[in-house]
Symmetry: C2
Subunit: 306 residues, 2 copies
């Protein structure tokens, strides 16, 4: 097995960047002190996330390709959640020296393929030695002349809707934690979230007033919209899109499970939304999030406290 | 002692972002799915680096404030090395749960202060749990309508010059490794590099054809310019700016020591440079880097092989 320790930092970087097709947004790709990326809007949307081995992924549960897909997806979804079009990712990779070169290459294949789904590419990065695997992903995006879709635009009277799989990743995680290997659909969903990247432009076209991606759990994330907008969000559990495959705990997974990177948005009262968007509740005066009229406490995922 | 494990992820993010003044480039700062940053040039310069505990810094040799300064400096220098003006940093921070909140706050103070030196600010980030400390820094910058100053523009006949402290960080590292605590100037230089950020605009105004920052060691980094430009670089050791404080090994530190983040550039033949720039050699036909006519092998710092 060829290890990255034997290949060395510069050899590894050369091997990895060779696998990366450069998209139209890249003016200058890997190989210099920094990349140069198009930002036609004169503003750039920018977000960064870390994924740490044993916390955000487990090597015995996910292969490198899926980890790459997931690492890219969660950052691309953050850009889309601003109503922007993702342009590039920058990848910081910390790896033990005994990691195989093939492992790193498959990770990069996953990153590149997920980028392609969103119309973006990997424009650069850094590789360093470490005792555990950490993947730092920065995503950039372009707003195309439009204002960003923040969390603070929700107003009383509006409707709340979600688009994308929700609860699947959490249900898949429960299965893996219990040593089960099916239903495959849920295991797959945990390993490889599939954010519907078109949801950003769609939400904007539909007049969305606030938008975010569901990364920590729907109730917790709606709480961020409620807090930033100074409103209360009322969810009706009967209106939640709970897939049968989620099983008896489906509603809990859909309300509190994170990492599917579905999108949640608020729309003006009376909006007629296409079927891909499920209306799950409404915005009222007040604060916090309620389900069927009952105010919810903080829930979801906190990386230190869990 | 208050730990970040007790405070929790969202509490820590709130405490840290409170310390961050937002600069003029920030349209939308921390608190949403992503930041929005001005890119008036319609292109954005972007670079990312990881710093890992025990490899890029040692907790017994550097305090959190200095680590923050250094983490910011090495990324801001990469932006300047493209001939761009740094606008913002994004910070991904992986920390053990028993890290004190004060440690993280001091790190952020260091990041913010170094940003201020370069006219930039911290626009957002992520905080996660981990078993070792990793700091992922992404820096963005604006080219102001000018072409990027890459590594590939050097041509035979040109002169090679450096600006900034060189060898100091390496000499300081040797002292710390040997259990010594002075000269303080060198220890300080290792803990807190001081890239002369004005060097980017200055190099451009002086007609620089290639520019980079010295992060891995001068010879190795000049090798990148030689390789990208398809030229040979000849260094005259007698012309090297070797500070007396570096001691008997001064020339070695200056030629092979990294992390000072001085700047190296090539300029047209006959250029008259201000005193801050030391002419150290010239560009010729050929390949690789030579010192006093002797071709050098790969040298400097490789994070896996060391």
């Amino acid at each position: 097995m060829e290890t990255i320790g034997a290949l060395g930092e510069f050899g590894l970087i050369a091997r990895l960047t060779r696998r990366l097709p450069q998209g139209p947004a890249v003016v200058l790709g890997p190989g210099d002190d920094a990349a140069v990326v198009r930002a036609p809007d004169r503003r750039v949307v920018a977000t960064t996330d870390l994924l740490v081995e044993g916390r955000h992924f487990r090597l015995d549960w996910s292969g490198p390709y899926d980890i790459g897909r997931k690492a890219a997806a969660q950052n691309l979804a953050d850009v889309v959640a601003m109503g922007a079009r993702p342009t590039v990712l920058l990848i910081g990779l910390a790896l033990p020296a005994d990691t195989s070169v093939e492992w790193a290459e498959r990770l990069y294949d996953g990153l590149a393929d997920e980028c392609a789904r969103a119309g973006a590419s990997v424009a650069g990065g850094d590789v360093v030695g470490a005792s555990e695997i950490t993947i730092a992903v920065t995503a950039l995006g372009d707003l195309g002349g439009e204002p960003p879709l923040t969390r603070s635009g929700a107003r009383p009277g509006e409707v709340v809707a979600v688009r994308g799989r929700i609860g699947h990743s959490s249900a898949g995680l429960d299965l893996l934690s219990g040593g089960l290997d099916g239903p495959a659909e849920l295991i797959e969903a945990h390993r490889r979230p599939q954010p519907p990247y078109e949801a950003g432009e769609e939400a904007r076209a539909l007049g969305a007033t606030a938008l975010m991606d569901v990364s920590d759990g729907l109730l917790q994330d709606l709480g961020h919209i409620a807090s930033a907008s100074g409103v209360r969000i009322e969810v009706e559990s009967a209106a939640m899109p709970v897939a049968d495959v989620l099983g008896p705990d489906g509603l809990r997974h859909a309300l509190t499970g994170g990492e599917d990177h579905a999108f949640a948005a608020t729309f003006p009262a009376g909006s007629v939304l296409p079927p891909a968007w499920s209306v799950i509740g409404r915005v009222t005066e007040g604060e916090g999030v309620a389900v069927d009229g009952r105010r919810q406490g903080p829930a979801g995922w906190d990386h230190f406290r869990r």
